[in-house]
C-alpha cells in the first residue's frame, strides 16, 4: 500500500443527509480521478476510501476512526452538518489527521486538524444582510430558521449586527421551526402581516434543506412575491433547486461563495468535467462542491510543497497556500484554518440557476470567531507558531482547551 496515498471520504450515502452528501462524495471521486490523471501526488496515485456514516452522528466518529486508524488515510474530506463535524473532531484531533469540511457553518470553532473551506457567518450572512439593507432598502427583518445550532447562532450574530446598525427590536421577527417542517401556513401568514406594516421587509432564511420547498410554495400561494418580501437563503443552492418547482421562487435570493452560473473559464471547465464524470448533462454544481475543489487543491499543493503527506507537516504547510477558486479569484488558506472567498448574492431564476445580482469587490476572510457575539469577540485563531492556538483570548492572553 506504499505506492498509493489514501484519501478518506466521509459523507453520508444513506439516511436524511444522503440527499446533499452523495454529491460531495462523487465530487471527491472526480477530483481524485483528475488528479491521478495528472500523475497523482508526489508521484503516487491517490486512492479514495469511501465509507457511509449513514447520517448517524456517532457513526461519523466511528467511521472517521476507521479511516484514520485502519485505512491509514492521509486526509479526510467529509461531513455536512455541524454535528457530524463535532462528532469526528475529537477523533481527528486525537489521531492528528486532517479533515476538510466544505459546508457553510455557524463558526465558533477552529481546530488544529480541521480546515473549514465553507463559509463562516461573516462570509455569507453578514454580506447578505448588508445587501438587503443597502441595495434593497430593507427596514424590517424576519429571521426564520430551523431550530438547531447553525440558524440559532447565525441569527444571534445577525440580531446583534442589525441592532448595531440601528434596527429596532420590533422590526425583527425571529421564528424557529422543527426539522423537515412542512406546514408553513401560519408562519407565512405571520410574515405577511409583519411585512404589511408599510416598511420594506425581507426574510433571512436559515431554514434547513427539506423544509424549504413547502416554505417557498406557501409563500407563492399566499401571494407573497419576491418583490414584496424577498427571501435570502443560506442553505438553498443549485442542488436543492433542482428538486424544486422553481416557479414560486423566482426572484428570491441566496448568498453563497459560488454559483454555477458564474461565467469563468475555470468554472465552465469544472462544470464540463463534472457533467461528463457523472454522465448527466443536467447535473448542477454548487457551493460545497467548490469548497471541496478548493480544499482538495490546497491539500494537494500543500503536500507537494511539504513533500510528504504527514498530517502534522501538511498542517503547517497548507497555511498560506493559495489556489484559484471557481469564481475567478484566488482563495487562500488562512492561519485560522478558514479560507478567503468572495461573497455572491444570487437571484433564483426559473431554470433553477442563480443570477448574481451583487458581489463583494474582493475576497472576504473567513472569521472563526464572530465579532458580534459577546463570548467570542475577544477570541482569535492563529495556527502558526508561536501562537499555535485556535482560540486565543486576546484579553486574558490565554489559549484554552488545547490538547497539544
Amino acid at each position: 500500500a506504499d505506492d498509493t496515498i489514501k484519501v478518506g471520504i466521509l459523507h453520508s450515502l444513506s439516511g436524511t443527509m444522503a440527499i446533499s452528501e452523495t454529491t460531495l462524495k462523487d465530487t471527491m471521486l472526480m477530483l481524485i480521478e483528475e488528479q491521478n490523471a495528472k500523475g497523482g501526488v508526489l508521484g503516487k496515485k491517490l486512492e479514495p476510501v469511501v465509507v457511509d456514516p449513514a447520517s448517524n452522528w456517532p457513526l461519523f466518529a466511528e467511521k472517521g476512526r476507521e479511516l484514520i486508524d485502519k485505512e491509514d488515510v492521509s486526509a479526510i474530506f467529509g461531513c455536512w452538518t455541524s454535528v457530524s463535524r463535532k462528532s469526528v473532531l475529537p477523533v481527528v484531533e486525537e489521531l492528528n489527521s486532517l479533515l476538510f469540511y466544505p459546508v457553510q457553518y455557524e463558526g465558533e470553532e477552529s481546530s488544529k486538524n480541521v480546515f473549514y473551506t465553507g463559509a463562516a457567518p461573516n462570509q455569507q450572512a453578514i454580506p447578505a444582510v448588508d445587501y438587503l439593507m443597502n441595495d434593497l432598502g430593507v427596514k424590517r427583518w424576519v429571521l426564520a430558521g430551523t431550530d438547531y445550532v447553525y440558524p440559532r447562532t447565525t441569527n444571534k450574530i445577525l440580531e446583534a449586527y442589525l441592532k448595531s446598525k440601528g434596527v429596532k427590536e420590533e422590526d425583527i421577527m425571529i421564528n424557529y421551526t422543527p426539522f423537515g417542517h412542512s406546514d408553513w401556513q401560519s408562519i407565512v401568514s405571520d410574515v405577511k402581516k409583519f411585512g404589511s406594516a408599510g416598511k420594506k421587509t425581507a426574510v433571512v432564511s436559515t431554514i434547513n434543506g427539506d423544509a424549504n420547498v413547502p416554505f417557498y410554495k406557501e409563500l407563492g400561494n399566499q401571494g407573497i412575491s419576491s418583490e414584496q418580501i424577498p427571501v435570502v437563503a443560506f442553505s438553498v443552492g443549485e442542488e436543492e433547486l433542482s428538486g424544486i418547482d422553481t416557479k414560486p421562487l423566482v426572484g428570491h435570493l441566496a448568498a453563497w461563495n459560488y454559483f454555477m452560473s458564474v461565467e469563468e473559464e475555470s468554472n465552465e471547465e469544472f462544470i464540463d468535467s463534472w457533467q461528463s464524470y457523472i454522465k448527466n448533462q443536467d447535473r448542477v454544481t454548487n457551493d460545497p462542491m467548490e469548497a471541496h475543489y478548493i480544499g482538495f487543491n490546497m491539500w494537494v499543493e500543500a503536500v507537494e510543497k511539504a513533500g510528504t503527506t504527514d498530517p502534522s507537516v501538511v498542517q503547517d504547510a497548507i497555511i498560506g497556500v493559495a489556489v484559484p477558486n471557481l469564481t475567478g479569484g484566488i482563495s487562500t488558506m488562512l492561519p485560522n484554518h478558514h479560507v478567503t472567498k468572495p461573497v455572491l448574492i444570487g437571484e433564483i431564476q426559473d431554470d433553477g440557476q442563480f443570477q448574481v445580482v451583487w458581489q463583494t469587490t474582493g475576497n472576504v476572510a473567513g472569521d472563526a470567531w464572530s465579532d458580534f457575539l459577546p463570548g467570542s469577540k475577544d477570541i482569535i485563531s492563529d495556527w502558526r507558531a508561536p501562537l499555535s492556538c485556535g482560540n486565543y483570548n486576546v484579553k486574558t492572553a490565554k489559549c484554552s482547551g488545547q490538547n497539544f
Binding site: 450515502l13 444513506s14 436524511t16 444522503a18 440527499i19 452523495t22 454529491t23 441595495d135 434593497l136 431550530d147 421564528n175 424557529y176 421551526t177 422543527p178 423537515g180 417542517h181 412542512s182 406546514d183 401556513q185 401560519s186 408562519i187 401568514s189 404589511s196 406594516a197 408599510g198 427539506d210 420547498v213 413547502p214 410554495k217 406557501e218 407563492g220 400561494n221 399566499q222 401571494g223 419576491s226 418583490e227 424577498p230 442542488e239 436543492e240 433542482s242 428538486g243 424544486i244 418547482d245 422553481t246 416557479k247 414560486p248 423566482v250 426572484g251 435570493l253 461565467e263 465552465e268 462544470i271 448533462q281 437571484e347 431564476q349 426559473d350 433553477g352 443570477q355 448574481v356 445580482v357
Partner: protein, 548 residues
C-alpha cells in the same frame, strides 16, 4: 381611445419615473416618429452585456427609446424569456429544444432562426428584483386604465401607500370617470387616505369614517400613523376607535384563518393516515412501509409530469389513478410476498415492513437519485382565493381539503357498503372462521392491503403538491400517521378523520402562541395524556369483545 386616456393620465404630473416610461411607451405607440434608433441600438448593446449593471442600463435606455420593438423586448425580458447568444451577440428567444441544444428566434429580426448546439451557448438576460419591480410597476400604471376592473382595483390599491396631494387629484379625476362600483369605492378610500394625511380636521374625521370598514393593510397603516402622530385629539380618538374596529375584524378573520389552516393541516394528516387506517386499523398490519407507499405515489406524480410535460394542469388527474395503481400493486406485492406469511403475528409485520421501507427508500434513491424531484404545481392549484385583504384561502389547500373528504367518502363507502368491508373485518377478527364461512381470505387480504396502499399512493399525489418529493418523504409522515390512527381509535374510519382534523386544528391554534416546535411537542404530550383518559382512542371499539 387607449392612447387618449394614456395621454390624459400622462398630463398629470407624477414624481414616479416609471410613469415617464409609460409616457414614452405611449408615445411610441401613438406617434410614428422614429427618432431614437441610436438609443435603441445602444440599449441592445447594453442588454448583451455580461453583468447586471449593464443590463439595467440597457433597460433604462430601452425605456427612453421609442422603437416599436422596445415594448416587446421589455415584455420578453420581464417574462424572463430573453437570451443572448454568447458568441454571436444576438438577443434571442427559445423556440424549441433540439437535441442537446435549441432552435432560437432572433428577437430583433423576427423570422430569423439560429440553431445552437449546446445549452450553455446561450445565456438568459438577467433581471433582478429591482428591475422587475420597475417593470411591473409600469404595467400596474398602465392597468389603471385596463378594461378589467379587477386589474384596475389592484392598480388603485398599489397606490394606497403613496397617496399625496397629486395622487388625490388624480384619484378624484378617475373617480368621476369610473363606472364600476367596487373600483369607485376603492378610489374613494384612496382619496380618504390622502385626506387623512393632509386634510383638515373635519376632512380627517370624515375620512376615518370612510375608512373604518376597510381591511387594506395600507389603510390600517395610515390610521396607525394618524394615531401615532396626529395632533388633534378628536382625530386621534376617532382613528383609535376605527383602528379598534378594524383590529376586531382582523382578529375575527385571523380566527377563521387559523381554523382553515388547522383543517388543511388536518386533511393532510388524514390523507396520510387513511390508508394506514385500513392496513393497520382494519387488517392489523403494523405497516412501517406505509410512508414509502405514499412516497411512491408522489414519485408517480413526478413520472406522470415527465411523460406529459405540456399538460401539467391535467397531469394530476392522471396521477391520482396512476398512483393508486402503482402503490396499490406494490401493496399487493408486499402482501403476497411478505405479509401473508405473518398473519396472526402482527408485531412481526412491523419488523418485516420496517425492512421493506428501507429497501423501498434505497430503491428510490437508486432509481431516481437521492435528490428531491421537482413536481410542478398546476396553475389551477396555485394562488389564493382572496376573500378580503386579510383573509384568503390558498387554492392548493382548499383542493386538498376537498380531495381528502372525497377520498374519505369513497373509502367509507367501500368499507361500509360493499361486502369487501365486511369480509375484511371478518378475516381480521377470526381468520379461520372466516375461511370456514367461505371467505377467500387470501384474496380479501390482498385486495384490502392493495386498497390501503393505493390510498396511500393517492395521498402521495396530494403531498407532492405541498412538500418535497424525495426518498425521505415517507419517513416524515409515518409517525404522524400512526399517531392519527391510534388517537382516533384503531379500526374506526371516522376516528381517523376526526383525529386528523382535531390534531391539525390544535397544532395551528397552538403554533402562534408557542411557536412551531413547542406546538408539536405540546400536541404529542396532549396525545399521551389523552390516551390515559381514553385508552382506546377517540372512538374506541366498545363492548365485551374489545377488552381481551
Amino acid at each position: 381611445m387607449f392612447c387618449l386616456r394614456t395621454h390624459d393620465l400622462a398630463k398629470c404630473r407624477s414624481k414616479f419615473n416609471f410613469i415617464n416610461i409609460v409616457i414614452l411607451l405611449a408615445g411610441i405607440m401613438c406617434s410614428s416618429a422614429v427618432w431614437s434608433d441610436v438609443l435603441f441600438d445602444q440599449s441592445i448593446d447594453k442588454l448583451l452585456g455580461k453583468n447586471f449593471k449593464s443590463v439595467t442600463q440597457g433597460v433604462e435606455l430601452l425605456a427612453q427609446s421609442d422603437d416599436e420593438r422596445a415594448e416587446q423586448v421589455l415584455q420578453i425580458l420581464l417574462a424572463g424569456d430573453l437570451y443572448r447568444l454568447k458568441k454571436e451577440k444576438r438577443l434571442v428567444t427559445i423556440k424549441e429544444e433540439k437535441g442537446k441544444g435549441y432552435l432560437v428566434t432572433d428577437v430583433l429580426e423576427s423570422g430569423k432562426i439560429y440553431e445552437v448546439s449546446s445549452k450553455r451557448k446561450i445565456k438568459r438576460v438577467a433581471i433582478n428584483n429591482k428591475l422587475r419591480t420597475k417593470i411591473k410597476a409600469a404595467i400596474a400604471q398602465i392597468q389603471l386604465t385596463d378594461k378589467d376592473p379587477g386589474k384596475r382595483s389592484a392598480a388603485v390599491i398599489s397606490l394606497f401607500d403613496v397617496v399625496d396631494d397629486n395622487q388625490i387629484v388624480l384619484f378624484e379625476k378617475m373617480y368621476e370617470q369610473e363606472k364600476n362600483e367596487k373600483v369607485r369605492s376603492l378610489i374613494a378610500s384612496g382619496i380618504a387616505i390622502g385626506n387623512l394625511k393632509t386634510g383638515s380636521v373635519v376632512e380627517k374625521i370624515a375620512a376615518i369614517k370612510k375608512l373604518e370598514d376597510s381591511l387594506e393593510p395600507s389603510v390600517r397603516n395610515a390610521l396607525q400613523a394618524t394615531v401615532d402622530s396626529d395632533n388633534d385629539k378628536s382625530v386621534v380618538a376617532a382613528a383609535t376607535k376605527a383602528l379598534g374596529k378594524i383590529d376586531q375584524k382582523i382578529d375575527n378573520y385571523a380566527l377563521m384563518e387559523t381554523l382553515f389552516f388547522g383543517l388543511s393541516l388536518g386533511s393532510v394528516l388524514v390523507l396520510a393516515a387513511i390508508g394506514l387506517a385500513i392496513t393497520f386499523g382494519v387488517m392489523g398490519v403494523i405497516n412501517m412501509a406505509h410512508g414509502e407507499l405514499i412516497m411512491l405515489g408522489a414519485y408517480t406524480t413526478y413520472v406522470i409530469q415527465l411523460i406529459m410535460p405540456n399538460n401539467i394542469g391535467a397531469s394530476l388527474f392522471v396521477a391520482v389513478p396512476a398512483a393508486f395503481l402503482v402503490s396499490g400493486l406494490v401493496g399487493v406485492a408486499i402482501e403476497r410476498g411478505v405479509i401473508r406469511h405473518l398473519y396472526g403475528r402482527p408485531l412481526e409485520t412491523l419488523l418485516a415492513t420496517f425492512g421493506l421501507s428501507l429497501i423501498l427508500q434505497q430503491a428510490v434513491r437508486t432509481v431516481f437519485s437521492p435528490l428531491n424531484r421537482s413536481v410542478e404545481t398546476p396553475d389551477w392549484m396555485s394562488g389564493a382565493l382572496e376573500i378580503n385583504p386579510v383573509f384568503s384561502i390558498t387554492y392548493n389547500r382548499l383542493y386538498i381539503i376537498i380531495f381528502c373528504l372525497i377520498v374519505f367518502a369513497m373509502l367509507f363507502f367501500v368499507l361500509k357498503k360493499t361486502t369487501l368491508g365486511l369480509k375484511v373485518r371478518a378475516v381480521s377478527q377470526n381468520r379461520a372462521m372466516a375461511r370456514a364461512m367461505g371467505v377467500r381470505s387470501e384474496w380479501v387480504d390482498a385486495l384490502t392491503f392493495g386498497l390501503g396502499s393505493g390510498v396511500a399512493g393517492v395521498a402521495g399525489v396530494a403531498l407532492s403538491q405541498l412538500t418535497n418529493v424525495g426518498p425521505n418523504l415517507g419517513q416524515a409522515y409515518i409517525i404522524d400517521s400512526f399517531m392519527v390512527v391510534v388517537f382516533g381509535g384503531v379500526g374506526n374510519l371516522w376516528g381517523t378523520l376526526v383525529a386528523g382534523m382535531s390534531l391539525g386544528v390544535a397544532n395551528k391554534v397552538l403554533e402562534p402562541v408557542s411557536g412551531a416546535v413547542l406546538a408539536k411537542i405540546l400536541v404529542l404530550i396532549f396525545i399521551i395524556l389523552f390516551i390515559q383518559k381514553k385508552p382506546r382512542g377517540l372512538f374506541p371499539q366498545k363492548g365485551r369483545g374489545a377488552e381481551g
